[in-house]
């Protein structure tokens, strides 16, 4: 790369990086919309925990021993060090994933499984679920129990 080309590249990269960061932080307030800056690294904002959900679901299933186990144990693709969060984020983004987890789990086992969904409303009570739903998972799919 010649010196001029390199400097143009550096300047463009830095300006695009700044534009992307501003696009995710202030563009909506200033311009009323977000810009499409084409590059994949400029597509979303950088931060995950700036505003956290106040209603959350915790997913588990009843094992053969009758005890609850994290539902993420039934997800066939491992996520090293963050398996529960991987599953929870997927379910937050796409609730249909619960039926997919059931479909795969039901294929792998002969007996039906019970999925337990505890919903917590953190503004009301952080220690006890506001609602618990049991779902039966078998080869026919998911159904309330």
């Amino acid at each position: 790369m010649s010196r001029t080309a390199r400097r143009i590249f550096i300047a463009v990269w830095i300006l695009l990086g700044l534009a992307g960061a501003l696009d995710q932080t202030v563009a909506l307030d200033v311009l009323g919309r977000r810009l499409d800056l084409v590059l994949p690294n400029l597509r979303y904002g950088y931060v995950m925990f700036n505003r956290n959900p106040r209603t959350v679901q915790v997913y588990s299933y009843l094992g053969k021993d009758g005890a609850r186990h994290p539902l993420s144990e039934l997800v066939p693709t491992p996520a090293l060090g963050y398996s529960r969060a991987r599953m929870e984020m997927n379910l937050l983004g796409d609730p249909d994933d619960l039926a997919e987890i059931c479909y795969r789990a039901a294929r792998a086992t002969s007996s039906p499984l019970i999925f337990v969904v505890d919903e917590y409303r953190l503004d009301d009570d952080t220690h006890h679920p506001s609602r618990t739903v049991n779902l039966r998972c078998d080869t026919h799919g998911l159904a309330p129990r």
Binding site: R3, Y46, M48, Y59, G81, R84
Partner: protein, 294 residues
């Protein structure tokens, strides 16, 4: 005499000690391997026709990669994984970076469900830079062993400086986004720490109630803002660099110890800050550790 333009671009031009970018290369591509390989080893669960998929990146790739025959998917996954490993060990690094970047982006586009995370934004940026600039293999690599060049090894500054910019801007604007979201007044950290067992927080944190108190969580909220807004600047100043690096590293160890975040996030951000270290810093660290470096 250097012109103002030369001074402006000086952090990106010339050469530097190759050790920090070599360490980052191993950590970054190691992190990509940990993040992507499970999905690439379970092709039937994630990319077979009929499985639930999410469209997060390129819609064109989402549609077309999903239609590939199984053998082609398998070959693409194998080539991608091999390229990531070659980058980690520093063998034909630039070509391997191009192949791994294209392969990982294609698979992330084909289905976001097993791999989607905001750390991928930085991963794409770093991979694009690696494809364009090349480098990062002058130390701790098979390429360096193959070449066996005499004399002290050096590395062009361009790649490491642009990656450092990418990482520091992400950290700094994370702080800005939190400020705009009302931190620390809203005590979002308190909300995060009050999540039930099994949701985002690690079990030990859930089982340590004294850490959930308002004083602690508000202090941690302020500390988060201080680190995210302060260290990207302090890391660039020689006098404050080592102290800022210690605080920064402790912050990211704290995040991964307390929250279930992908290891890729830690590998990018914790090791990325090492790129702020130049030869003088490395000599100072080596001297303090009792192992002087030439």
């Amino acid at each position: 005499m250097a012109s103002p333009l030369d001074k402006l671009f000086a952090p990106f031009e010339g050469e530097r000690d190759p050790l920090p970018i070599a360490i980052f290369r191993i950590a970054f591509f190691g992190g990509l391997a940990i993040h992507f390989f499970p999905a690439l080893c379970h092709l039937d669960d994630n990319y077979a026709p009929g499985v639930l998929r999410s469209d997060e990146w390129s819609h064109w790739l989402f549609v077309h990669v999903g239609r590939l025959p199984h053998a082609a998917l398998e070959a693409a996954a194998l080539v991608t994984m091999l390229a990531v490993l070659m980058c980690a060990v520093g063998l034909f690094t630039r070509v391997a970076a191009i192949v791994s970047g294209l392969g990982l982006y294609a698979f992330a586009s084909a289905n976001g469900l097993p791999v989607q995370t905001l750390a991928l934004l930085d991963a794409w940026a770093i991979l694009i830079l690696w494809m364009i600039c090349g480098g990062g293999e002058a130390a701790l690599s098979l390429d360096a062993l193959r070449r066996r060049k005499a004399g002290p090894r050096r590395e062009p500054k361009l790649l490491s400086s642009l990656i450092l910019f990418q990482i520091l801007i992400a950290v700094f604007f994370s702080g800005i986004e939190k400020l705009l979201a009302g931190w620390p007044g809203s005590n979002e950290m308190g909300l995060l720490f009050s999540y039930p067992k099994g949701f985002l927080v690690r079990d030990w944190l859930w089982a340590t109630p004294w850490l959930h108190g308002a004083i602690i969580t508000r202090t941690l909220s302020w500390l988060t803002l201080f680190v995210e807004l302060g260290t990207p600047i302090l890391l660039l100043v020689r006098r404050t660099r080592l102290a800022a690096l210690l605080v920064y590293e402790a912050f990211f160890v704290g995040i991964i110890a307390m929250l279930e975040v992908p290891p890729l996030f830690y590998f990018i951000f914790a090791f990325g800050a090492l790129l702020a270290l130049d030869g003088t810093d490395l000599r100072a660290i080596a001297t303090r550790l009792g192992r002087p470096r030439r």
